[in-house]
């Protein structure tokens, strides 16, 4: 809990930053006490990243002041920030995958031209930190070999090894499994109890509520509310974030599912590393239902959806679409689309879009064979019109078909991908992590659309690491563990605890 009487460890006062006509930060004031966890929540583009860049000395504010331990601080470079005890854990880790943990921790603070002394010092420091916080990571492990949760721990160790007393975590749980996210929450509490001050940037309200002491809400560059976590709830925070009431209640029709549109038997497949990732997976998908696939990340869900979408070869097994067996030898993504299978890929930036292409080009990605876009040559006018139409139907903002899609927010990119895939009129929709990196407003829109599609008779397979999402949308839940489906439940007759146990590999008892 915050210490009384002492000046706050970090105080931001009246900070304003403009980029051209855009006000990214508008008169922001907030403070973080010693030992406090202060969460900053806000949608994409609300100004969270700009504020962090200012604190870390990467961006110079137009106005405003920053105080560290009550003393006015001039932060002109990341080096200044580090000297003041500010450390940052970036959402996209700033680690060298091919180096070991020790070298990564030492990187940028080698302390001389020769490395031996610095290595020795870093090793001793890591041992201290591991004793003090229970933060054990093998210093000689190669970072690229570590799971995501441990890589993040290395980032935190990096900050601590530089004596950071104010630690900024930017969307730290975005890439973590639920278990890893829990561990991180515990670690943050531990560090705070030890006197560190923590700024915790997130868009997940439940995490902010669970971990933080206070929560500030950023909207359109300004702090619109600061609440004690104990005195607020997700509904109030969401309203502050979005600027209106967010309706979480999703309605669904109660018609029974129709005929089976997708039937998979005993699918097996290997990962990119050659290891078996799917071992005899069977499932069926009927018209008018959403089947959720739950599981800890990396247990074969990604491979399952890729095999069904023809992006990954099935080694054995059989697939039938609307009763017709599919010839695995000629099943490729183009064929899958032709057979009415649409795919919203889980890794949007790698598969779903081409960031440097304009939105119009992305609006036809994979659908470019459509003769309506031009008989022999592609008609740029028709492509722009298609894009404008998709943007209108899905409320993609800005309505700018010529703007590179990489400049759109995650939520608007995802809406464009959904629009492209769904407006092509598929019977089957494969959806991976539909709301990853997507802001609340867009999440709400996407969830509503998915349920409407279900009610319209589409067969939808939903893979998500967000259990809340699985429960909110699915009619049935399949749980994957180590490449197998270890359980199937009707959503109405199960709960998070049971699904969580199945995810953890606790074997299903013979019922």
């Amino acid at each position: 809990m915050p210490a009384l009487g002492a000046p706050p460890a970090l105080r931001v006062f009246g900070v304003t930053k403009r980029f051209g006509a855009v006000v990214a930060n508008k008169d922001i004031s907030l403070d973080v006490a010693r030992g406090e966890i202060h969460a900053i929540v806000g949608e994409n583009g609300a100004g969270k990243s700009t504020l962090m860049s200012i604190l870390m000395g990467m961006v110079t504010p137009d106005a405003g002041e920053i105080f560290v331990d009550g003393v006015r601080a001039r932060i002109r470079s990341p080096r200044d920030a580090a000297a003041l005890g500010l450390g940052m854990v970036h959402q996209h880790f700033m680690l060298v995958d091919t180096l070991d943990v020790l070298d990564n921790v030492m990187l940028g603070a080698e302390g001389g031209a020769l490395l031996a002394a610095g290595r020795k010092r870093a090793r001793a420091r890591l041992a201290d930190l591991s004793r003090a916080h229970g933060l054990s990571v093998d210093p000689d492990a190669i970072v690229g070999d570590l799971p995501v949760g441990l890589r993040q721990r290395v980032e935190i160790l990096k900050a601590l090894a530089r004596d950071a007393r104010i630690i900024i975590l930017d969307e730290p749980t975005a890439a973590l499994t639920p278990d890893e996210a829990n561990d991180l929450g515990l670690l943050m509490r531990w560090l705070a109890a030890d006197g560190a001050s923590i700024l915790f940037i997130t868009h997940k309200l439940n995490e902010a509520l669970a971990v933080a002491d206070r929560i500030s809400v950023l909207r359109a560059g300004a702090v619109v509310a600061t609440h004690a976590a104990a005195a607020t709830d997700a509904r109030e925070l969401a309203r502050a974030m979005v600027g209106r009431d967010v309706d979480n209640a999703l309605s669904r029709g109660d018609g029974p599912p129709g005929r089976t549109l997708l039937e998979a038997r005993d699918l097996t497949a290997r990962g990119a590393d050659g290891r078996a990732r799917l071992s005899g997976v069977s499932l069926s998908l009927r018209a008018g239902e959403i089947v959720g696939v739950a599981g800890v990340a990396g247990h074969g869900q990604s491979e399952l959806i890729e095999v069904l979408a023809a992006m990954r070869r099935m080694e054995s097994g059989a697939l039938a679409l609307d009763g017709e067996p599919v010839d695995a030898a000629v099943y490729d993504p183009a064929r899958a689309r032709a057979l009415g299978v649409a795919h919203v890929p889980e890794d949007r930036s790698r598969h779903g879009i081409v960031g440097e292409f304009p939105a119009a080009g992305n609006a036809i990605l994979g659908r470019h064979r459509d003769r309506a876009l031009g008989r022999r040559l592609l008609d740029p006018g028709a492509i722009r019109a298609r894009c404008a139409d998709l943007m209108e139907r899905w409320d993609v903002r800005p309505r700018a078909p010529d703007t590179p899609v990489g400049r759109f927010s995650g939520g608007n990119q995802q809406k464009l991908v959904f629009a492209r895939e769904i407006e092509a009129g598929p019977a089957i929709l494969l959806v991976g992590q539909p709301t990853r990196g997507v802001d609340i407003g867009a999440i709400e829109a996407i969830h509503r659309r998915l349920l409407a599609l279900r009610d319209a008779g589409k067969a939808i397979l939903l893979v998500s690491v967000e259990l809340d999402e699985i429960f909110a949308l699915s009619d049935r839940i399949l749980v994957m563990h180590e490449g197998r489906i270890v359980g199937e439940r009707a959503t109405a007759s199960t709960d998070r605890r049971e699904i969580g146990l199945l995810m953890a590999g606790v074997v299903e008892r013979a019922a």
Binding site: P345, D347, G352, I353, V354, G355, G366, H368
Partner: protein, 347 residues
């Protein structure tokens, strides 16, 4: 790049200006009058019909080579082998042209040009195939194929293809029909004075190829797939684009475009196959494509700039015997560095 002509100084102009400044500095450093040297350069390249025609003649090579590099680059393939591809294209062209005796001129030209394209494409397809099937890095393989092409041409010209009784490493002249229309021939027919340059109908072909490359990349489905693959192979996979097909088509087209250098040089100027006729145009093409931002329609102005430097540099030697023509190479180096820096900044 060049398409952003809207704001401020157009980049190619700025880059070209910097190249001139670099040359002036070099000239001053060796005690020559910098302004006089620049004047000689500009007059040599643009001052009379001869200089102008030579500038366009060099630019023709650079358009073809620049297009060849740009099309491959759009597929994410850095084809450094345009030089070798144009040499091998020249072999195909010469075989067809030498065998064309008695055929009507249009047929001889058509067959010889097609042979050049097929040979150039085939030479580029081998590295393409090595990449698609075996993962061989296309930068390495295309560089190496330049050496093989050069050695192959040398062997052919000192032994099997050498003109009988000749000591020169060159073939016998092509039959009279296997020759493109030259500007000078047209001028003479019209009663005007000739320019003394080998500028020929290849320039029109180069401009047509430029438009065709633009239509392919930006209007055709295959071109869309090519660009998607070049920008993001993973997204291309998602979109159902077959990588092998895209790689082979892009490399094949690149090699076919490279053959334009052989058409300009052999069918337009030399009328026989000689050693190293491409004179490094394949490498200049890399700089041209870079300057044009790999946009086909921007290739012509970029190629013109390099053509200007080439002709201007060659003309310098008359007035400034102490200045080595290498000064143009120095200017080119400055340009490439500048373009590289501009590209780097954009990233």
């Amino acid at each position: 790049m060049i398409a952003r002509l809207g704001r401020g100084v157009p980049e190619p102009a700025a880059v070209g200006l910097a190249a001139l400044v670099a040359m002036a500095v070099c000239a001053a450093a060796i005690g020559e009058n910098p302004l006089g040297l620049l004047r000689a350069l500009v007059l040599g390249a643009l001052g009379d019909t001869e200089g102008l025609a030579f500038t366009l003649y060099y630019a023709t090579d650079f358009i073809f080579a620049g297009l060849a590099v740009a099309v491959a680059y759009r597929a994410g393939l850095f084809n450094i082998g345009v030089e070798g591809q144009s040499l091998v294209a020249g072999v195909g062209l010469a075989l067809a042209a030498l065998a064309s005796g008695g055929a009507p001129s249009w047929l001889a030209i058509l067959v010889a040009s097609l042979a050049a394209m097929v040979f150039g494409a085939a030479w580029a397809l081998v590295p393409g195939w090595l990449l698609a099937r075996r993962g061989g890095h296309v930068v390495i393989t295309t560089i190496m194929f330049n050496f093989i092409a050069s050695a192959l041409l040398s062997w052919l010209l000192v032994d099997p293809m050498r003109a009988q009784g000749s000591m020169q490493p060159e073939t016998r002249p092509f039959p009279p029909g296997a020759s493109l229309l030259r500007l000078d021939d047209a001028l003479v027919v019209l009663g005007l004075s000739p320019t003394g340059s080998p500028l020929n109908a290849s320039l029109a072909l180069a401009l047509a190829a430029m438009v065709a490359a633009h239509v392919f990349l930006f209007r055709s489905r295959l071109g869309f797939e090519t660009r998607v693959f070049g920008a993001s192979p993973t997204a291309a996979h998602y979109a159902g684009v077959a990588s092998t097909r895209v790689i082979l088509i892009a490399m094949g087209l690149s090699g076919a475009l490279a053959s334009g250098v052989a058409i300009n040089e052999l069918l337009g100027a030399q009328n026989r196959l000689i050693l190293d006729f491409s004179g490094g145009a394949g490498f200049v093409g890399i700089a041209v494509a870079l300057l044009a931002g790999n946009r086909p329609l921007a290739i012509a102005p970029a190629a013109l700039l390099f053509g200007f430097l080439y002709q201007g540099g060659a003309a310098l030697g008359l007035d400034y015997p102490r200045v080595s023509p290498q000064i143009v190479t120095a200017a080119q180096g400055v340009m490439v560095l500048l373009i590289g820096g501009l590209l780097g900044r954009r990233r």
